[in-house]
Symmetry: C2
Amino acid sequence: MKTLWAERYAQRTQRIQSSAIRELLKLTEQPDVISFAGGLPAPDVFPVKEFQEACQRVLAEQGPQALQYSTTEGYRPLREMIARHTARYGIVVGPENILITSGSQQALDLIGKVFINPGDRVLVEKPTYLGALQAWNAYQAEYVTVPLDDDGMQTDKLEAALRVGPKFLYVLPNFHNPAGVTLSLERRKKLIELADHYGVPIIEDDPYGQLRYEGDHLPALVVLDNEFQRHNGAPYSGNVIYLSTFSKTLAPGLRLGWIIAHHDVISKLVQAKQGADLHTSTFTQMVAYEVARGGFLDKHVRFIRTVYRERRDAMLHALERYFPTEVRWTRPQGGLFLWVILPEHLDAAEVLKEAIQEKVAFVPGGPFHPDGSGRNTMRLNFSYMSPEKIEEGIKRLGRVLERVLSSRYQCAA
Amino acid sequence: MKTLWAERYAQRTQRIQSSAIRELLKLTEQPDVISFAGGLPAPDVFPVKEFQEACQRVLAEQGPQALQYSTTEGYRPLREMIARHTARYGIVVGPENILITSGSQQALDLIGKVFINPGDRVLVEKPTYLGALQAWNAYQAEYVTVPLDDDGMQTDKLEAALRVGPKFLYVLPNFHNPAGVTLSLERRKKLIELADHYGVPIIEDDPYGQLRYEGDHLPALVVLDNEFQRHNGAPYSGNVIYLSTFSKTLAPGLRLGWIIAHHDVISKLVQAKQGADLHTSTFTQMVAYEVARGGFLDKHVRFIRTVYRERRDAMLHALERYFPTEVRWTRPQGGLFLWVILPEHLDAAEVLKEAIQEKVAFVPGGPFHPDGSGRNTMRLNFSYMSPEKIEEGIKRLGRVLERVLSSRYQCAA
């Protein structure tokens, strides 16, 4: 007889659903659609030549090692390089504090696996990164939310959420995905103080921190916590788990991210990773190290910044020019995304259907809200399309919004 | 204050422990130790030159695509190639039945995530693959076991285990890890019949199937189930989930495996993988495809077979020559491992301590038994060391066993 597979799935996967929006977005993969939907780096910034050279060097000099099994913790020279790089931003840790992951998404998954019991609360921003919700829904997390504004998480609303007793607090302080906003220094300090007071550890997700196009670098929460703790002069308090990735600075197709954490936490995460995928590809780790070392990564990040800054500016100018006055948006100082807030009565998922007719796409903001709110919001990516396409796409989207707004107002009248 | 991390771990990770044996085995990484402990392919069989050429071609012709995000299901030409390859063994499926995973270990993890509720029983062989237990312990599986003998799972003991109501049945029919044995054709048929009778789906793990050194290829369970079901002439029943990998035929450092399953199951696994690591490295998938295609993989597998057959023979000869008569072992027709059974009063973990003194290592068999039995067993790998080292290592190990056996007999007297 045939197996009734649906009757055999675990309870946790009941919440893992195929999304209607994902199906819609498949329509946007046609070449004539201008898509602001993905979170994709511009393919024209990938350092293809450097990858070619690195592959040759790695295979010629260390071929058998690069193709063999390796340790779960990750390639040691790569971890040492990450430790050196982060030290420049005041995050002083050793390789024993670093675990290489198969992209930042795996970091989120492993954290869920190690920490979340079914029903545990996780404190997140509203909106928050969809991939974190996807990872933690599988561990049956519940959420308590703190809303964002232009200065990031509204820390005056944080204390009430902390008193719920969350397992941890998850925050994207720099150029937030999806909202594009940055947590102010004052609020960073407030957040550290309150989290310490309630004994709630912090997961700081920082995939875009290096992609700042204006303004001054703000210290990471992991740095501010160390300053706050002043614990016996040791450089790293271990209270903040810090995540980052090479996906936005080198290439996402490698799937290389990392976790910085207390050594005890790294040990537990290593055990979890052993069961999850044994280790991240030895070859991609060695190639990434070969490409990044010797100062190339810094140089390359400077180049990416100039490309993305131009695209952000193109989008902001186009928004001013083509979007209806009833619509608001954020002005990111870096990263890949900005956030659009439509009048409350509009549903961005409905707008997307209209937009696809006009060959332009975005991601509706609803799924970034664990409480089901935010239906009138949308995320726009500005890294993937050229400035010309951005201008044209925003023009089309403005037209769609004008039309939708006028028809809705008519209905309401 | 400092975070008390240990108080924050989830219940499921209480069972994820750092193993004493893992610590012991770290001692065996010194170059003068002859190690039969790992499951490592011989580095001298890696096709380094072909990888160099493939990297160049992929980056020169499709660089931006290879470095970009890609679909969770996996690189389509690779899935199509896998479908063509498996069709030759009678497994007739399309790319929609195939999910590329970050090594076979991730396949085991995703299956655990999608199917196992805390406390669910999983039917496994005794001994069984340690990586499967590691993956599923994290989902709080319980186990019901069926012992092996030289013809694989003892199917006359299978019915009682099936009546316990396991979520699924996990079996390694070819050149079992750790036991080295192969499930006979008669037992394969019996297993299919019984699993069908009790409605229990099968996970068939086949990482070594192509590495047969003698005897005839036996049909996979997935093929036999299709024959048994004869369901409307369709080629794939969907009752058996089949796992395999490029780790033993191309290179484990790539982390590339795959799952063949019913399309509904693939959809669910894709959703789970999205939250786990988004997708497997685009670059390694494209490079592996480039290396494998055009008949190279078949040619290369023939070469690997000749190398490993010689090593297996070297180990079997050395065992005959140097091991005490009280010790028994399996005679694998393929794969990477053989299995040693010591007299019942001996503890292989204790033997390992002595062996490390003599600069030779193996993995004690206890951890491969979910019920805590098997302390008098050990796994020997024959793929990694040269025939000369195998001879020398088995000689040393024979000496250790002679000594341990004689001292134990004295104690018992």
